[in-house]
Symmetry: D2
């Protein structure tokens, strides 16, 4: 899929060099590529109120011989957004369990590698600063992303004063976010198949003036458009599973980096906790041995 | 830490070549290395009812010049089990956020690589067979491991008839496992600092005759000793975080492999779900576009 | 509101004495009273394909002087379904906290009394039999009803082999109910403002052939229509809170009654648990004193 | 059990009239009645460093003919703290399901009545003031009490800025309470069999200087001793279930009373929510009808 992300990144990167009319096209495609993929140059032009020839010139500016060529790549992009059933049929591509294990885990390695390579460190540092300076930090992830948001919350709870993990529960996500305001940061974790409720909640928070950091799979994911900062870690389609290994690795890096900033302040908290854990016997510190 | 795991693996691998008295020592060390590390040859011999010279010969058999040398390695192993506060002091080893991110994520890559390399595929296949043939599958993970058990349960729910994720909640873990019996499989996920309650629950299930698969960080983890099958994926100490990236990658491989076996049976379930999701509008299928 | 429930019960009770055309009207009103309340006799007749005079005769059969009189009562019924904001404005009806406490708690007493008085014991016994004979028992309650379903599940877990509480979580309610079939019982707990997802899930389970027991506030609640057995316990509108005290009391009675049937079988389970609780120190059994 | 609660209340009420030595006895009995019940007058005296005759005079002051008579009542009190197995044997006291339902629900009515009658309205008002003025409100309940704490949190979330429900989860209760300080209020809900962890957490919060409101079953419950304010609502032993109906009714009264104070401020929040709920289709507002 990287090729197609490149297509859309390519559009974003060219943005400053585009004419005003071409920018309208660019914007429409980035936000509606599923739809654009199946529009003629004429109807695309009509939709954004530019001429058909502007659409063609737009394709040329991006390096295509014509609109048809651009459109074909958009269609490939769309096809890659498969339904779960379609993806399930890809399961039997491995000849053995051993090969499946290797293929799946090597893909995860590749994915983490790509995440390191493509990370924008300025954005990463900026995300850390936002989190450290927020009044409240809300972490939102639903469906399979809820395990990442829970994991991030589990550790941020030790490092940051006001952390709330937003999850499906008796109170819906809007009720849980009702008091979020412009002093607050929302970390939205959103992976294919993008949960609709997560996107609605990010839209709501955006309207409330919150700062939004997304952890998502590409700059063209629907979560990115609500984000002040998008931290990108790929997720790979493994049959019907979307591997969340690369984002989990990114989250580890985020936690360790925040701990670097809070080191002195939190050491005493941990000393307190060690003594509480010890007092109330939470962990297994050789207790079998001690009972001998 | 690999070196020390090697020490204990080394002991396990040599097991068949040991005398009866030496086997008693081996067993004691594997299960009580924290304690053994600080015993003299004499007191270790006394504890397991063998002579001091048997202890010395045991060290020689493993390739050490004497008991002192073996003991020193055991002490190194123990020292590596640090408290959270001690580990927190390791945070400032990175000179920048960019370096921290790279170091953390590259360590995850290394860890997945090691997991692939050291996986015993026979055990992996056997685990899959146990899961497919169980009456009930219980997945148990507490503390940070609860996010892995939730993630595994999230996907197994689509593939297996009776899957229950056991987590901290109003009913304690024993109450949730009260009906588990010899027809059932428990998947126990246990990483440092090993949750005491997880180990107690595995002990309880073992006594009930359940089959136990552990996902854990080494053959000498306390979870391994209750396990019929131990699937090993390393977790790396990143400051105060134990990275769970390699086990998550292993869990992906497990899910995909089980899906390979259940492919035909579950396709119709997914078709049902697609239509329910569609009917009740769970996912974001281009709805912005459709509303234009 | 009882008066209006009586109106709809009245319609249900008269059902057998109605003509075929009148039954169409009755059915429409029971399922769509919000809409019917604002239809003329003519348009109501047209909607269900009967003459206007049939509508008038229907009102007469129920004891009204004309359709207008019936319609007025329907409108009162609708008005009682207030929005949360509307209900919030009712908050200041109490002159003091003491009076508020008394009024709220006395209303709860009244509600439990009414529940006892109006309970159909045949249905209650039948519900118990269904639960005891089910392959799997699923308990479904969302929003504030989730605390009742959790409470019921907490105790049924000790009494019944396969109990699953369905709640908002990473897997949506449909995924959690995907394997439910005709051997299974769903206990649906549904109170105003009725959660849409609960009703959809009951509809789904009904289609799958499950037996459905609802715990709800009236025979005309939207949950009742999917139910094989409806156990009625009123919920009272206390400003913006719907008191769930009477249904919790009914759930207590349900648990105690099921325990009466399972007494001999479960005693040993509890003895096991007592010894586990004791072994792992779950409850506070005078431990301060014992440590003196 | 009321009789025995009266015994301990009686001791509390007499406190001001007791001599210094008698006060030591009173204190010991209130906090350790399980133990005191089985001590002779001599050993009780020795334990608190008073003479045996002071113990006898203490019994006389309370209206008993001697220490033996007081001790007998203490023993009755202890006996009423039965194990679950013992209580389960009480199940077959009802001759039919109908009688069981009536007995259980009428007991709940009686319990609510008693709660109204014995409520100290000053304490109730004070609890409301504490909650309204707290920086953070934490609500803590484990085991079956977790459904009450969830229910209270569900509604307080609409009324109060910073509300956190503390429950069993990946982070233990201490980690969740780590940042609680003297600006904060803890509402601890604790019912027999009192969860040890709840009591430990209240002890921890007390040490941190938090204000503590308990909702519990008597002034001599172990939760009361950590509390600034104890709101008492009885829980009745129904076979192995402890009915939480009266405390739920009390919680309703608490929510309505807080809403009375916050009426103007929150109306706009609810209007926002109504429009969000409407926009994102959370509730079932006649949607069947609208689709006709």
């Amino acid at each position: 899929m990287e090729k197609y992300v490149d297509l859309l990144k390519n559009i974003q990167n060219s943005f400053n060099n585009l004419s005003k009319g071409q920018r309208l096209i660019a914007e429409f495609i980035i936000n509606n590529y599923d739809k654009a993929a199946f529009m003629t140059a004429a109807s695309l032009g009509e939709t954004v109120n530019v001429s058909e020839s502007t659409v063609v010139r737009f394709a040329n500016t991006l390096g295509y011989n014509g609109y048809r060529e651009l459109q074909k790549e958009l269609q490939e992009l769309v096809k890659n957004k498969l339904t779960t059933v379609q993806r399930l049929t890809m399961v039997n591509k491995y000849s053995s369990k051993e090969n499946a294990l290797k293929a799946v885990m090597e893909k995860d390695i590749e994915n983490i590698g790509k995440t390191i390579h493509e990370m924008e460190y300025g954005a990463f540092q900026e995300a850390i600063d936002l989190i450290l300076n927020a009044e409240n930090v809300y972490i939102l992830g639903l469906r399979s992303s809820s395990f990442l948001s829970g994991y991030l919350g589990f550790y941020l709870n030790f490092l940051i004063k006001r952390v709330t993990v937003i999850a499906s529960g008796p109170n819906d996500v809007f009720e849980q976010l009702l008091k979020a305001d412009s002093q607050d940061v929302i970390i939205g974790i959103s992976y294919p198949r993008y949960s609709k409720r997560t996107l609605e909640a990010l839209e709501f928070c955006k309207d409330e003036g919150c700062k939004i950091i997304s952890i998502t799979d590409s700059l063209i994911s629907p979560a990115s458009k609500y984000s002040d900062i998008a931290l990108i870690a790929g997720s790979d389609m493994l049959s019907f599973v979307d591997s969340l290994v690369a984002p989990m690795s990114l989250i580890n890096a985020l936690i360790v980096s925040i701990a670097m900033e809070r080191k002195d302040d939190i050491k005493s908290s941990f000393e307190d906790l060690e003594s509480i854990w010890n007092k109330f016997n939470v962990y297994n510190i050789n207790d079998k041995e001690n009972n001998n």
